[in-house]
Structure formats: structure tokens, C-alpha cells
């Protein structure tokens, strides 16, 4: 019995559908849901910073779900190494580009100041206690 056989047994009453198919379906649907949420957020949110918040979901969480899905479907050393590399580089580059976009949005005033809870870039009023 190889390790791959552990994932491919039949569930009672539903022949032909193994644990691996269920994991694949759940992870693909999770990633697709992240894409849907990002699209709706890009359409509905009011300014650059909140759209940036919506855009981050498929870039990290959806990608982790789909890469884990590929690694579960083909559990070999090369696949898992490439999957870890993909998640590593995406987690390295996506926050950097989001940080640059957010900083450019702040500098060029492409955000709604009335939606901010706190703005730590404004010079502090010396008379306030905060």
C-alpha cells in the first residue's frame, strides 16, 4: 500500500469519489471564492486603499489554497518543492508591491480621508494628549 492509496478509497454509498477528490473540490472552490470576493471588492469599494485590501485575498490565500491543491493531487518531492517556492515568492513580492501602491496612493491623495480611522502620517497636534 503506497502513500497515494491512503487518499483514494471510496466513501460509503458514493463510489468513485475519494478523499482526494473532495479535498480538490473544496480547495478549488475556496480559491475561486477568493477571486470572486476580490472582483466584487474591486467593483464596490470606494478608494484605492480599500480596493488594495480586497485585492490581497486571491494573491495570498487563494494561491496558497490552489498550490496546496496541486501538491495534494500529485504528492511528489518536485511538486512540493515547486509549490513551496511559488508560495514563498508570492508572499515575498505581493506585500512589497501592495506597500508601494499604498504609499503612492497616500502621496498622491487617491484615498478618502473621511474613511480613515487613524492617519499616522499627519503631523501630530502638540496640544492633544495622544
Amino acid at each position: 500500500m503506497t502513500p497515494a492509496d491512503l487518499f483514494s478509497f471510496d466513501i460509503d454509498g458514493v463510489p468513485g469519489i475519494g478523499i482526494r477528490d473532495i479535498v480538490t473540490a473544496v480547495l478549488v472552490l475556496l480559491a475561486a471564492l477568493m477571486c470572486f470576493a476580490a472582483g466584487v471588492g474591486l467593483l464596490r469599494f470606494p478608494d484605492v486603499l480599500s480596493r488594495l485590501h480586497a485585492a490581497t485575498k486571491p494573491q495570498i490565500l487563494g494561491l496558497i489554497a490552489i498550490v496546496a491543491d496541486v501538491a495534494v493531487t500529485n504528492p511528489s518531492l518536485g511538486t512540493i518543492t515547486l509549490a513551496v517556492a511559488i508560495v514563498f515568492f508570492q508572499a515575498l513580492t505581493a506585500p512589497a508591491s501592495a506597500h508601494m501602491a499604498g504609499r503612492a496612493a497616500y502621496r498622491t491623495d487617491h484615498f478618502r480621508r473621511d474613511l480613515l480611522v487613524i492617519d499616522e502620517f499627519t503631523p501630530r497636534d502638540p496640544r492633544s494628549d495622544m
Partner: protein, 87 residues
């Protein structure tokens, strides 16, 4: 499994159409580059979903390349917008 494929395809299509709509409408160039990042992420997820459902790993280097070089466009555009804003 075909039901899962159809549902996932519809969700990804709606996400991609939202990103394309935001690329077309703007209003600023920063909105456009954020939306293009989302479009690249949607393409990566679609490639990976096809691999996972069909059970092969042929396109994993494509995903690695997109993960590596997706930063270039958005960082350069954000860098130039910080100094000079034409939108």
C-alpha cells in the same frame, strides 16, 4: 466534479470581469495596477485549478514565473506615480 468545475469557473470569471472593469474605468492609475495584479492572481489560480482537477503538474513553472515577476509592473508604475501624477 463537473459541478465544481462549473461553479469555480463562474466565480473566477466574475472576479476577472470585476478586475477588467476596474482596469477600464480607473479612475486613477493605481486602481488599474491593483486590478491588473488581481487579474494576474486570477490567472494563476485558474492555471492551478486546471492542474489540480486534471491531475498533472505541467504548468507549475508558469505559476512560479508569474509569482516572481508579477511585482515588476506594479512597483514600477507606483514608483513613477509617486513623483509625477498625471491622472
Amino acid at each position: 466534479m463537473i459541478v465544481v468545475v462549473i461553479i469555480a469557473g463562474l466565480l473566477m470569471a466574475v472576479g476577472a470581469i470585476g478586475a477588467i472593469w476596474r482596469i477600464i474605468r480607473g479612475p486613477s492609475a493605481l486602481d488599474r495596477i491593483i486590478a491588473s495584479d488581481v487579474l494576474v492572481a486570477t490567472a494563476m489560480i485558474a492555471i492551478g485549478a486546471e492542474m489540480a482537477i486534471n491531475g498533472h503538474t505541467d504548468n507549475l513553472p508558469v505559476m512560479l514565473g508569474l509569482a516572481l515577476f508579477g511585482i515588476v509592473g506594479s512597483v514600477s508604475v507606483a514608483r513613477f506615480i509617486s513623483s509625477r501624477d498625471d491622472t
